[in-house]
């Protein structure tokens, strides 16, 4: 757990660029599919040939509005594109079409879970803009290769209020946001491919001071783990500076995950003056309520509502409900399984969060790629419920299902795993165990209740896990009393 001198208060704001899941770019008809050969998805407009003009792809606006509605934000019924002017080779026009004074989405809120309960993080705004191309510095013998495939890809830049007070809160917000954009299917959230990029603004101030300290911007953080570590480093760095009587320089810093440090970006220029002005090539976007209503109707049950429903409808704990509603796919898997199975919902939850998640993580699979289907999972859980399997033998069946060795009942048959519920058979083993463990039997008789665990364990061992532990427990007690 990261701790720092409690004299200092940390203030964090996050800017997340999400790549919107449209078919084509925001202002041109080019594809945005990842992984194409360089400069094969760059039209005349994308490479800024003279005379070309942008035309709005309303699908991008639709997805932006969907996000706004999902976080209960204001939607600006008239919103305006503005030019952000600067020179860089991967910015073909020498300006980026973005939104400044009037973004499409205004103020909204996202709730996060913290150890101290639910906290509301403000979202200042979310605006549409186009992505730049890519600069490739290796492989070109001292030159830089420019790939403009990405130039013009639609982005939604989501800006939070500086409401977070620790790296953990920041990560919690990011995870919530990541989950949400995937839930409402506006972004695939693939951080490796750059669909979900995070910049963090970090500053510190003496606790109790209202004025914000000087902030630095951390860039190039492409995993949740790096986010936390980068911030921790930066906070300590700033504390050291201030405690030595120095001043924090407002600058952009890159996180180096190998060295675990942040470094000032090598650039000679002072703060950019982007000379924003409304783009004269694009009239203001005017939305009507009917359009918004149409989009609202496409919103799925959102994570917060789904989690609450899981808690009330399935009587799950907050923690379990949270884990099971992390993504729509996981939530759907759970609900389908729960519907097909007679087992208690709590059991279904435990098995998903335990055995299933563990195996998915180990094999680095998404739930959609699970080798075990909801039907198979449901059947397995039914066999536990009807006492065919014990917890232990069920795990063996699970493993076999994972390797796709067959259906549940076939596996039970093949491996002879049917739980022994025949009291007579178990009795015989119980007698064996009592005979073999005189000390433990005596301890039990002397009042040590806990030793029953050991004795049951012995019965399970002798029966190769097949004895019904509840019956074994009961018989042991009867015979020892």
């Amino acid at each position: 757990m990261f701790n720092w001198d409690q004299r200092w208060e940390v203030v964090i704001g996050l800017e997340v660029h999400t790549q919107l899941q449209t078919k084509s770019k925001i202002f041109s008809g080019s594809s945005i599919a990842y992984g194409a050969e360089p400069n094969t998805q760059a039209s005349a407009l994308d490479i800024a040939l003279p005379g070309t003009l942008p035309v709005m792809n309303m699908e991008a606006a639709r997805l932006a509005i969907k996000f706004g509605l999902a976080i209960d934000a204001e939607i600006n019924m008239t919103n305006v594109f503005a030019r952000k002017n600067y020179f860089y080779p991967d910015l073909p026009k020498g300006y980026q079409i973005s939104q400044m004074a009037l973004p499409i989405v205004g103020f909204g809120e996202i709730e996060i879970d913290t150890p101290d309960g639910v906290k509301t993080i403000g979202v200042t705004r979310a605006h549409l803009e186009e992505d730049a191309g890519k600069s490739l510095h290796e492989d070109f013998q001292g030159q830089t290769g420019i790939d403009l495939n990405r130039a013009g890809t639609p982005l939604l830049e989501i800006v939070s209020e500086p409401d977070m007070r620790s790296p953990a809160e920041a990560v919690s917000y990011l995870r919530k946001l990541h989950s949400l954009v995937r839930y409402i299917e506006i972004c695939d959230g693939n951080m490796q491919e750059g669909s979900f990029r995070c910049d963090a603004n970090v500053s510190i101030r003496p606790r109790g001071q209202a004025e914000l300290g000087t902030r630095t911007e951390l860039k190039n953080i492409n995993s949740f783990r790096f986010v936390e570590r980068a911030m921790e480093y930066e906070i300590e760095r700033q504390i050291d500076i201030l405690e030595d009587g120095g001043k924090v320089v407002q600058e952009t810093r890159l996180y180096d995950p190998d060295k675990h440090e942040t470094r000032s970006m090598r650039s000679k220029e002072e703060a950019h003056d982007y000379r924003y002005f409304p783009d004269p090539d694009l009239p203001p976007m005017v939305l009507d309520q009917a359009f918004l209503d149409e989009i609202r109707a496409t919103l799925p049950e959102l994570p917060t509502a789904k989690k609450a429903r899981f808690e009330t409808e399935f009587k799950l704990s907050s923690e379990d409900a949270s884990l099971l509603t992390n993504s729509r796919e996981v939530a759907n898997f759970f609900e389908e399984t729960a519907q097909k199975s007679k087992a208690e919902k709590k059991i279904v939850a435990n098995w998903m969060i335990g055995e299933l998640f563990a195996n998915l993580n180990k094999s680095e699979l998404e739930i959609a790629e699970s080798p075990i289907s909801t039907s198979q999972f449901a059947t397995l859980l039914d066999r536990i419920a009807d006492n065919t399997l014990s917890g232990k033998t069920a795990k063996q069946v699970f493993a076999a299902l994972w390797e796709q060795e067959g259906e549940v009942d076939d596996i039970i048959e093949a491996k002879g795993l049917k739980q022994i519920t025949d009291t007579g058979a178990i009795e015989a083993i119980v007698d064996e165990v009592i005979a073999a463990s005189p000390d433990q039997v005596q301890q039990f008789k002397d009042g040590n209740d806990k030793v029953i665990g050991y004795l049951v364990g012995q019965v399970m061992q002798k029966s190769k896990g097949k004895a019904n532990p509840q019956i074994a427990n009961q018989l042991l007690k009867e015979k020892m009393s």
Binding site: L53, V55, Y276, F277
Partner: protein
């Protein structure tokens, strides 16, 4: 020698008196022999292929008005496969891989594109003296006294006035069709903003630029505008209105037409002879049944300063793409990225372009945006509102197109402000997006043409052309050929 109009050529082609191939060859030959430097390049292969196709179509029964008619195109328009320079060194090696919509529209009507006319660099200028490809000689001048043709569509104006093409396309941001039309004795029309697509037209000031026809007559201008205009989904500022026939009311009587004369357009700085010619022109209109009254556009004195904030600001951004990275000129030697940018743009752009980029960047910069750019846009609204007010009881506004007639080459290049003052009467219509035109009002004692400027309400190009056409029915200024050309004889 008389002028050759589109109407006449259309009739000759239709009757079989001449073929498109013959016409095209004739014009290409004239261009080759001319000394006006009106063209940056010609496209003979394209032109002849188009002419042949047109002649064949005529045989197949197609008879559209401009089928097979050769036109000169301002080098601001991309035409697939042609060098498209915008008058600049920075695009000297640029071959456009696509065609501008207005040109494509014309090609679909069977128009033959002769070549790309000279122009002020990136449309910034009023004399064609900022072109990397040299100045253009106004055919109305003499050997001993080279006069400017006006700008930025100087090459197009000179080409038509020198009989190198029967008509040409131009573009107008602050007067760049109308002012050269006035200096060269032509009819030049800037349509309503949004009427013609800007796709494929290299951008100078996006909220002001418009393509338009430069011809000898209003009737020709209407014909050419018919083939250029129309909604284009590739231009988000293109007006989605039904197609119009701009010739439909050319012959309407002007009885009862109300002409407004903004007093601000007749103030100091206006050459006396030009003023006299304008007054005579107005009298012709009164004879045609129009009534005339003085009106006021009280904020029009703010038009020039507003324009010279807004246009450079938009231009400074539009020209950022010319950076040597993807296409066009790149400096041969440079030490790093920043140096490459500096050298490429310093070497690739001329002085006037650099001047305006700097003004524009300044007007948009942090701390100055509110005082300059934002303020200018607010003033633009006031200027536009003035027009709304006067158009409540006027059908058309008239005045001089320019404060003077064509001036000598080099006489204003040392003083950018004196150059900017050329556009003082034309700029307000650009700021308000209104249709405006210039027709020849007469010749001064020095034998130089003066232009009569007309402005009508938004989307009323047909009315504008009607008003212009009627003047040309009762006067013959528009038929005069520049003496140097008439003497050349052809």
């Amino acid at each position: 020698m008389t002028i050759t109009t589109l109407s006449k050529l259309s009739a000759d082609l239709s009757s079989g008196k001449v073929s498109s191939v013959e016409l095209t060859k004739d014009y290409l030959s004239r261009i080759e022999q001319s000394t006006h430097n009106a063209f940056i390049s010609t496209c003979p292969d394209l032109a002849l292929a188009q002419a042949q196709a047109a002649d064949q179509k005529r045989i197949d029964g197609n008879n559209s008005p401009l089928l097979g008619v050769p036109i000169a195109q301002k080098d601001i328009f991309c035409i697939d496969g042609t060098q498209t320079t915008c008058g600049s060194k920075i695009l000297e090696n640029f071959i456009a891989p696509y065609t501008a919509t207005v040109i494509d529209n014309m090609h679909k009507q069977g128009v033959v594109s002769l070549g790309k006319t000279n122009m002020d660099e990136f449309a910034m200028g009023s004399s064609n003296e900022t072109s990397y490809y040299g100045s253009v000689a106004n055919p109305w001048g003499e050997e001993t006294e080279q006069l400017v043709p006006g700008g930025s569509s100087g090459g197009s104006a000179a080409a038509v006035a020198a009989q190198l093409a029967p008509a040409a396309t131009g573009t107008d941001t602050g007067g760049s069709i109308r002012q050269p039309a006035a200096f060269c004795g032509l009819t030049g029309i800037k349509p309503s903003y949004g009427r013609c697509s800007r796709y494929g037209m290299i951008a100078f000031a996006s909220s002001l630029d418009q393509a338009g026809p430069m011809t000898h007559t209003a009737e020709d201008a209407a014909l050419l505008l018919n083939s250029m205009a129309g909604f284009d989904s590739k231009d988000s500022t293109s007006l989605d209105v039904p197609a119009e026939d701009f010739t439909r009311c050319l012959d309407d009587s002007l009885e009862g037409i109300k002409i407004g004369l903004p007093k601000e357009f007749f103030g100091d700085g206006l050459d006396n002879e030009v003023a006299t010619l304008i007054e005579s022109a107005i009298k012709e209109y009164e004879k045609l049944g129009a009534t005339v009254k003085e009106v006021s556009l009280p904020n029009s004195h703010l038009a020039l300063p507003s324009y010279y904030v807004i246009a450079p600001a938009e231009a400074s951004s539009n020209l950022s793409r010319f950076d040597g990275v993807k296409y066009g000129f790149r400096a041969e030697e440079y030490t790093d990225l920043t140096d490459m940018y500096y050298k490429t743009r310093s070497q690739g752009f001329g002085d006037e372009v650099k001047r305006r980029i700097m003004i524009g960047a300044y007007a948009l910069s942090s701390g100055y945006y509110d005082a300059y750019y934002s303020q200018a846009q607010k003033l633009r609204r006031l200027i536009s509102d003035d027009f709304d007010t006067v158009f409540k009881d006027c059908d058309v506004l008239m005045g001089p197109t320019t404060p003077s007639t064509a001036f000598e080459q080099g006489s204003r290049t040392d003083d950018p402000i004196s150059m900017y003052l050329n556009d003082i009467y034309t700029i307000p219509a650009n700021l308000a997006g209104l249709p405006a035109g210039s027709i020849q009002a007469g010749l001064t004692s020095a034998g130089l043409p003066a232009g009569l400027h007309l402005i009508t309400p938004y989307l009323q190009e047909a009315k504008l052309l009607n008003i212009a056409h009627q003047f040309q029915q009762v006067t013959d200024w528009h038929t005069k050929v520049a003496p140097s050309i008439a003497q050349g004889g052809q």
